[in-house]
């Protein structure tokens, strides 16, 4: 089985450059604006889209992404509408890989089998579920792989060589290396430490390795892209969106552009990276 994710990373490998992965929250600040933003991302240079599933209690996220989820929920966002958003995006774009990222409870309540079927039909390519470590693979990971979706696992600075094989065993699509022990949007990632970690993980897998958490600027995105197969930026985009809203948290004429412009600048950073050989 080849997904859009596999195809995209194969293309990028031919081009000899790293992927630029963007994260935005589904339904932030409302469903129609969010769809416009997601549509604008590939045009602005995003290679892979991570779409956050709003959740009331995102325990691995910092204040920016927490607030984005609450803005979306306040405006009536649900998991079902998140899948509607994906369907809307797929009307115009059948190539850009799209990964849903979030927490398990909304999926568990939706019903795992129904969710996987609906997600596949809507055009979702993969899942990143923060609170499902390999110890809980029976819950969603194994069924997702059977349903033809990639299950992208997080590896972290605390995942040592002994544990890596378990983390990588059922991982597909790519590996998401969390560059810092911490929550989203917190400390800045150190590119040299990231390089060492990526090399360590590469000894255990042939999958592409994308790096996220703590990357905010084109320079940082570029530095990471020189060490890994992809740079992930989330909080900085969510902040750009938030700063474009009016005092009541409503969308303005600037909102979509604010996210698109930062995406374009970050994409330039990633594309300027000199990839390490191999």
């Amino acid at each position: 089985m080849t997904t859009r994710i596999d195809t995209r990373f194969a293309e990028l490998k031919k081009e000899g450059r790293a992927a630029f992965v963007t994260y935005v929250m589904a339904g932030d600040p409302d469903l129609s604006t969010s769809l416009e933003i997601v549509k604008a991302l590939p045009k602005a240079g995003s290679d892979v889209i991570e779409l956050g599933i709003p959740f009331t209690d995102p325990m691995a996220d910092g204040p920016s992404i927490q607030a984005a989820g609450l803005r979306a929920l306040k405006n009536g966002m649900t998991l079902k509408k998140t899948l509607d958003l994906v369907r809307g995006f797929r009307k115009d774009d059948n190539f850009t890989p799209l990964v849903l990222m979030g927490y398990y409870n909304p999926i568990y309540i939706y019903g795992v089998d129904k969710f996987l079927a609906d997600a596949k039909t809507a055009g979702v390519d993969g899942l990143i579920i923060v609170d499902l470590p390999p110890e809980e693979d029976d819950e969603l990971c194994i069924p997702a792989l059977k349903a033809g979706l990639n299950f992208i696992r997080l590896a972290t600075p605390t995942t040592d060589d002994k544990r890596l094989p378990a983390v990588l065993a059922n991982t597909s699509g790519f590996v998401y290396y969390v560059s810092i022990a911490g929550i989203t949007g917190a400390a800045a990632a150190d590119a040299n430490a990231v390089g060492e970690a990526v090399a360590r993980i590469k000894r255990h897998t042939k999958l592409p390795i994308c790096v996220g958490f703590g990357i905010r600027t084109p320079e940082a995105a570029r530095a990471i892209a020189e060490k890994a197969d992809g740079s992930v930026v989330g909080t900085a985009l969510v902040d750009a969106l938030k700063n474009s809203l009016d005092a009541e948290g409503r969308v303005t004429a600037k909102t979509v552009n604010a996210v698109a412009e930062l995406t374009a600048a970050l994409a330039q950073g990633v594309k300027g990276a000199q990839q390490a050989a191999g």
């Binding site: 209690d57 325990m59 398990y104 939706y110 470590p133």
Partner: protein, 405 residues
């Protein structure tokens, strides 16, 4: 659905931390290696007689155990039914049962070489117990507490600060216990290298529900011995309040296989079960939050709902996973008491027995007021008086003044 009764109600969890479908380890990868380390450290400590001996020493001379099993004569007369005994956990050092678990976890943290302790707290009782033992053992202590709870439990905030802890008011979400737990988890993910997370209840990822239960089981084990000494037999029923459910699990667990004993857990029904409340079993369904699958209050989309209780310690939209299992297999009966019922019980116990209970066990007393009159005079009923009410005196005073106006 046919539920097969297990041979023993005390054999859980399995090696993956499951009680039936409940429990588990639903945490971010960053925390997984730590949780596995903790499990290893706890297994080793349990098998080490020196660990138990040291803990027993502190339980006796620092905590003041055993706590008395006291015959509440006037409450018994007033209700006119079962003979009511109070397990006096409120007499422990720091004023509640929370210290039993904190002592165990702090000793584990020391074995693991961790110098920084974090905790979440609702009513502040777990926070005070954690701050106390950190002071005693010279450890850094940071306590996360919802901003709403900081306001309504001021006496405990002051106590924690006097003990040298840093209290962080949590402004996110509903600004209560659930959000304090989110924030503690965020701190832990960030400071994994030096930090031990001291969870205050029988919830969270495996092995916490087991470990907290084991440390709290001293309540039930003492009760067994004491009741034998006083009445020459086991009690007929047990009653305890439940937020996450640690005082209840501590009392219940040693008795689970004594099949003739009726066991009652009392959740907080807040303004009533059709309005805002904190009764996860009565008003919730199974979901995944804070590292475990358990009964949760949530909406149709799986978003966690706001809990409400007059008692900050019960104001949580979930419950420990072993309670969810005991509910599903029918071993424990889960009831609920409203804010008003708890307030009435708070006043009744104060006036009849000269014991001001915390608002949390006042919920248990409220159900005793219903259960005891329906039982014969030779029925022995034990209530876990899990905490004292000093921390609630300003809040209850304000409410009663407001009502009398």
């Amino acid at each position: 659905m046919n539920i097969v009764k297990p041979n023993s109600y005390r054999s859980g969890p399995d090696e993956r931390g499951h009680f039936g479908i409940f429990g588990g380890r639903f945490v971010a990868e960053t925390l997984m290696p730590l949780i596995l380390d903790l499990e290893k450290a706890y297994t080793a400590a349990k098998a080490d007689p020196a660990f138990q001996a040291e803990m027993n020493g502190y339980l006796k001379n620092y905590v003041g155990r055993p706590s008395p099993l006291y015959f509440a004569e006037r409450l018994t007369e007033h209700l006119g039914g079962a003979k009511i005994y109070l397990k006096r956990e409120e007499l422990n050092h720091t004023g509640s049962h929370k210290v039993n678990n904190v002592l165990g976890q702090i000793m584990l943290a020391r074995r693991m070489g961790k110098k920084r302790i974090i905790a979440e707290t609702g009513a502040g009782q777990h926070g005070v117990a954690t701050a106390t033992l950190c002071a005693r053992f010279g450890l850094e202590c940071v306590v996360y507490m919802g901003a709403v709870d900081v306001d309504r439990q001021q006496p405990n905030v002051i106590r924690m600060e006097m003990l040298g802890a840093t209290v962080v008011p949590v402004q996110s979400g509903t600004r209560t216990l659930k959000d304090a737990m989110n924030e503690a988890l965020r701190d832990w993910v960030t400071n994994v290298h030096n930090t031990f997370y001291c969870i205050g209840t029988v919830a969270g990822p495996h092995p916490y529900p087991t470990l907290v239960r084991d440390f709290q089981s001293i309540i039930g084990n003492e009760t067994k011995t004491q009741m034998q000494e006083i009445e020459g037999r086991l009690p007929d029923s047990l009653v305890a309040c439940i937020g996450g459910g640690s005082n209840a699990m501590g009392l219940f667990h040693p008795f689970l296989d004594d099949s003739t004993i009726e066991i009652f857990g009392v959740e907080a029904a807040g303004h009533g079960l059709t309005q805002l409340h904190a009764a996860s079993i009565a008003g919730g369904r199974p979901g995944v939050l804070h590292g475990n699958r358990t009964y949760l209050l949530m909406d149709a989309d799986g978003q966690i709902q706001d809990a409400h209780s007059i008692s900050a310690g019960l104001d949580y939209p979930g419950i420990g996973p072993e309670h969810s299992w005991l509910h599903e297999i029918g071993r424990v009966n889960y009831l609920s008491a409203t804010d008003d019922e708890a307030l009435a019980a708070f006043q009744l116990l104060s006036k009849l027995e000269g014991i001001i209970p915390a608002l949390e066990p006042a919920h248990a007393i409220a159900k005793v007021m219903e259960l005891a009159p329906k039982r014969p005079k030779d029925h022995l009923m034990v209530v876990n008086l899990s905490g004292r009410g000093d921390k609630d005196v300003p809040q209850v005073g304000d409410i009663l003044k407001g009502k009398s106006k």
